[in-house]
Amino acid sequence: MKGTLVIITAVIALVVSFFLFTDIAFFSRGYARTKLFASDMVGPTLKVISSPVHLIGDLFDGYVNLVGVKKRNADLQRRLDALTAENQKIPELEKENNRLKGLLNLRDQKEHQMVAARVVGEDVANWFKCVIIDKGRVNGIRERMPVVTASGVVGQAVEVSKWHAKVMILNDANSAIDVYVVGKHSRGIIEGNGRNTVKMKYVLKTDDVETGDRLITSGKDSIYPKGLAVGIVINVNKNMPGLFADIDVMPFNNYKKLDEVMVVTQ
């Protein structure tokens, strides 16, 4: 009798979770509130657990970085010399840039306000690509805010609790970003597929997109501001039926190596 009751309860729970999945407002509203409440407690716990893990990681990285540091130092010195020489041209280029901008009547883009955050966790299921950061609602983070690093776009905040937030990486199958090809008038949508590379879709075969082209956000999806680096085209296939080319893109950010990120709050 007890066993039968448990099975009936389980079947009811199964049906309820099915309705939660279908986003029926009656079920999902209460569930979202429960999740938010529980998330507020999970955040600090995750931070405590991740601290020793990160400490070990940092120690390991420190040791690995020491190996071959002399050779790397010499390489960096050479690069520094080359960049110093190149830097001397910058003031002149800046002047020229300002003059041309003035001619085109372009306004300077507003500086973005950002909040730095540390990655404290990752999606427990490998079907989805998300990271958990240690900043949440109290730090001004809200849903749909873009998350970036110095290299480029990471993704967007999808669920924000008081102390932490979940960031959907651009590699996730549910992610899409409107992008431009730098220097060309081609536009497309970057869609994740769960792999390390992502697909650029809806680019006509007649468009001049080549391997090595760099992609930036177009700003037209009303999530990502214009001009953030996204990735580089690594393969273009036009030998297939249909209007559009099959384009593979390597994102600039490797989400498995993210330690710190910036959330664009304004």
């Binding site: 729970a13 099915f18 716990t45 427990v124 490998n126 079907w127 989805f128 999808v158």
Partner: protein, 164 residues
């Protein structure tokens, strides 16, 4: 009582630890589903009520630490509970290897349930690539992880928690 609470607490800790640990490790394939062995253990060795509580609690906890759509993890974990409850009357776990094999099988079962849920509820196959690529490695690693989990829980049951 202590045995049941310990089992739940250990499972929850491992889920949180997995989330923190894998953000540091640059590997994706070897990510086991920690919840499955605990649900199977609870159903087979602790009882149906404990199994149901474990499946709801672990499903919910995994959703908190994942970008999974609302209800999806809960659905798959309850499906694992129902599957284990059915097998409980047809299968006898005599060693950790049988337990490991069963956990492996339930990870595959869970993936199929997840895909079916997506198709039936939303008519989408967007996640089919992820699920098909990661299912087998996840199942194998879950099976491997379930060996020490089973040994630990059985050891504690015999040595320290028997009769509690």
């Amino acid at each position: 009582m202590i045995k049941r609470l310990f089992c739940l607490a250990l499972g929850l800790f491992l889920i949180a630890f997995e989330s923190a640990f894998f953000s540091f490790l640059p590997i994706d394939f070897a990510k086991p589903d920690v919840a499955v062995p605990f649900i199977v253990y609870a159903v087979f060795f602790l009882g149906p009520v404990e199994g149901l509580i474990a499946s709801v609690l672990f499903g919910f906890s995994q959703e908190l630490l994942s970008a999974a759509p609302a209800g999806s993890m809960l659905f798959t974990k309850i499906a694992v509970f129902l599957g284990s409850s059915f097998l409980r009357h047809h299968l006898y776990i005599e060693s950790r290897y049988t337990f490991s094999l069963l956990s492996t099988g339930f990870v595959v079962f869970e993936s199929i349930v997840f895909l079916a849920l997506g198709v039936v509820a939303k008519g989408e196959l967007r996640n089919i690539f992820n699920v098909s690529v990661y299912t087998l490695p996840a199942a194998i690693f879950t099976g491997m992880l379930s060996l020490p989990i089973y040994t630990l829980l059985q050891h504690l049951k015999i040595r320290h928690l028997e009769g509690t």
